[in-house]
Every structure is written in C-alpha cells, then in structure tokens.
Symmetry: C2
DNA sequence: CGGTACATTGAAGGGGCTCAATCCACGTGG
DNA sequence: CCACGTGGATTGAGCCCCTTCAATGTACCG
C-alpha cells in the first residue's frame, strides 16, 4: 500500500512506522512482524510535554505514533530554534541517538502517542536485519535532507519565501502520510512555533502570512492551511516539489528477501 | 590510534577513512582491509572544480582524501547557501545518496583528491558488514548534528555569534583530524564562502571579523586563523565545545568482532 | 467573569544588505 | 621590468527588512 492508496477517511489516525518503511522497501512477513513489535507498547504524551530533554541521557528512540511534535534547542538567553516538525510516523532520535546525552529537546505540540525503541534494539536490528537497517538509514537520510533545505530557507531566503517554502514542505510531507488532501491540511502550530522554526519574530510571521493571504496564495483559518495558488506559491518559494519523493530504491530493497 | 595520538607533523597529509572510523569503533583486520580497498584509487580534483553537480544523476559516494570542499545549493537568482565545509577524511554523498539525482553540488575549494565509492558498494557493506554499517551510520549522524547546529547558527544567532561559532566548530573538527594545533589552523576559505555558509554578505563578514579581531578574540592573517581567547569566544558563541566528541560507542563496536 | 493563550496591528529602531569605491597581492604578457 | 588584469579584502554611505516593544483584539476556559 502506498501513501496515495492509503485511505484518508480518518486524518488523525496513527501512521505506524511499518507503513512509512513500506514506502521505501518491500517488507517480508518477518520484517513486518518485527516492526509491529516495536510499536507494541505506545505511551501517551500530553500536549506541551517534553518527550526528550536536551542534555539528559537517554536510551530510547521513539516512534511518533500519533500527534505533532517539534525538535528544538533553546539558547542560554531564551532564543529558541525549532529544527524540525515531527509528524506522525516519524522516528525520533536522530541525530542524537549516538550521543551520550540528548543534543536537542523534543516536545509534543498536540496530544500524542509515542512508542519507545530502546537504542540497544536498534543496534540489534542493524546486526540482524541489514535490509531494515538500510531502510532506516534511508529514512534518516531523508530527514537530513530536510535539515539542509531548512538551512537554505533560513540562510538565504526572505521571510515571504521562507513561509511559503515551509507551508509547501508541510503539504508534501502530510500528503505522503495521508494527513493532507490535494491543497489543504490541518496545522496545529502557533505562529510562535513557525517563527522559531524559520528564524522570524512572531509579528513578522503574522504580517507575512497576511501578505500571502492578500496575494491570494494561501489562506489560514482556524488552524487549517489552504493553498490557493500552488503554482504561484511554488514559484515564489523556489520549491522543488518532488525532492522528498525523488528517491532511489535499491534492487535489494525493492524485492522481498529470499 | 586516536586523533590526539596521530602525529601532526605534516598537517596537509591525507586522512584516510580508516582512521576516521577507527575513532568510532575497533576495526577487525578484515574490516580494515575492506576500508583500505575503498580508497585504493583516489582521483585528483582541481581547485574550484565540481565533484558532484546538483540535479545530475550519480552512482558514487566519495571519500575526500585530501583538500577542502563545500556542499552547497544555488538558488535560481544566484544566491548560494553553503551547507557544510567538507574536510579531509569526510565521506561525501550524504544525504543525497538515496536520491536519483544529486540534491546539492560539491566543489573543491583547494586542490583535492577523492576516492569514489560506488553506491552499490555501500549497500554491499550494509548487507555483509553490519558493524561497519553502524559506524558509517554513526558518522552520518554526526554530520546531521552539524547541520542542526548550523541551522541554529543561521536561524537564531547574530552575525558576531555566527562567525565565532563557525570558527570554533572548524577548530574542533580540524583538531580531530590533526589539521589544527591547540588554537590555530589554516583555513583556505574566502570571505565569500564564509558569508554563503553563514547567511551573511561579504562586507558584513569582513566587518564582523574585524570586530572579533578588535576585541582580541580571533586573528586571521594570510588564511591562518588564530584563536586568541578561547574562553571569550566560546562564551560569545554559546559553543558547546564537546558536542562533536560526546558520542556513545556501543559495546558492539567497542570490542573487536569474534 | 477574569485569566490565559494566541493573533493582530502599529511605531520606532537597528542590524545587516546593497551599491560602490579603493586597495592589495599576484600572475601574465608585452 | 613594468603595465595590466584579476581575485579577494576592506571600507563607507544609505537604506530596508525585520526586530523590539507595546497595545489591542479575541476565543476559550476554569
């Protein structure tokens, strides 16, 4: 089942990791069982609670089963940079998983559910399930690509371009997991979070959103984003619509294992 | 042999991947042989030549054997964002290696030498050498962490803080490969490259460097960076000196394989 | 009903940009 | 040996995007 085929009837339904990795490879029954096991015991997380705290040791990754969260760092004087928005089905813990203590904090933006995956467990998978290891590696690679795009955003784009790019990237990512339709999605982010993600102040995020609306490109109402002019917005943002989907699936992952 | 122990007599000597991964794990003889093979046929690259071109298909990673290079993207109107500085011993190709075409360009800043590693080869390693796969995974994880730090830099720090952080991070990275002494190193970057890395204009990079010098924190002369006040500079940059070294080595990698 | 969280709008200031000139080191050809 | 061109560093003037500070609006909730 690909993303496009997955039913979107209940847009808030959990999106298990199994489905995400199934986009990257063909799973054997055994592999699928293993992945299901990993998510056997999800634990609820309340809105605004931290899942991982910067500087604290930790021994588990997490699969975000349901809900939105953010990865961020706060500087000594209180400035905060949001590194990325974590969507349902994303694996939390990269790139920090090889470090003694967490490099960044993760907090739930909404009521959420996470399934812990002990670090040891991940290493075990690397040892015994090389195909899964490769797929997980691939998915982290994709995450790093998003960091890079984000860096380009903040380093070299104007506020207008940044916000446009940000909204388009979320559209693409949410569509891939069935949480967005053709041109709209629910976005439970405050303008403060957007500002901290994009390196902008709250008032300026507000003004920028207003301008996008005045220009007829995007409408945001009641936490619902509606892309009114995909063409125009993409041109403005210099958005490479397909980069997140333009991946290569090695032969080895494309066929079920012997 | 750890980084600290490696002789620094010839600061321009190549730093093979073997040594880099040896910092992350204990290599078996067989693993070491495999890694040496990967670098058997390095190829020279002239200054300012591209090693990878954005948008073009490619089927190899590269190990940067010698020289400095940059990973970057140029936007349609000519603005450029440098994503990271690639140092000798770094593996080039992440995060693009799973994509059909290169997401970013890589260009040599100095005369350089690279050893191609066919993508297929990497997958083979994942299949047959899980310990190496884990170590490579770790090293990419570290690279992603640098992207994240870079993002914080550009998103939430002032020009002065950015430049300070940038110079400190290079100090740390170059020390780890024996290309920097206690508080100085050679840095073959133009101010334009620094500006494109930090999201600043050339004149402003210049003014910022001057201020750092006037404040007695850093001296740059003739492509040589001298950190005059490590304490002060670190405080200014909010620099977590140790983050790049604060990693966890799993039992599995710490002991030689059976 | 008061309190909290968030969106919105305005005014004023500043950090960093653009544009442009100058300087300097170096290599190259006459 | 010198004139010239080139790549890069440096410095200045003016301006604009975005920030800061502050006030107001508004929905929701105990």
């Amino acid at each position: 089942m690909t993303a496009a085929e997955r039913p979107t009837a209940n847009p808030e339904a959990p999106v298990p990791l199994t489905h995400r990795l199934a986009q990257l490879m063909v799973l054997s029954a055994k592999e699928e069982r293993l992945l299901d096991e990993l998510q056997a015991a999800p634990r609820p997380v309340r809105r605004n609670r931290e899942i991982v705290s910067e500087g604290r040791p930790y021994d588990s990754l997490f699969i975000l089963d349901e809900g939105f969260s953010i990865r961020y760092r706060v500087l000594h004087d209180g400035r905060r940079q949001v590194l990325n928005i974590v969507l349902p089905g994303d694996l939390i813990g990269f790139p920090g998983c090889f470090f003694e203590t967490a490099l960044y904090s993760i907090a739930a933006l909404t009521e959420a559910r996470v399934a812990p995956v002990p670090f040891q467990r991940l290493l075990g998978i690397f040892e015994t399930h090389p195909r899964l290891a490769t797929a997980i590696f691939w998915s982290f690679s994709r995450e790093a690509a998003m960091y890079a795009e984000h860096l380009i955003d903040v380093g070299r784009r104007s506020a207008l371009e940044r916000v446009a790019h940000f909204l388009l990237e979320l559209l693409t990512r949410l569509q891939a997991i069935g949480l967005a339709d053709e041109n709209s999605y629910r976005l439970p982010l405050t303008q403060e979070v957007m500002g901290d993600a994009l390196g902008l102040s709250v008032p300026h995020v507000n003004r920028t959103l207003r301008q996008l609306r005045d220009d007829g490109l995007v409408g945001i109402e009641d936490q619902r984003v509606v892309i009114r002019d995909l063409e125009g917005l993409s041109a403005l943002a210099d958005f490479e619509r397909s980069y997140l989907g333009r991946f290569r699936m090695p032969e080895w992952l494309a066929k079920p294992p012997p």
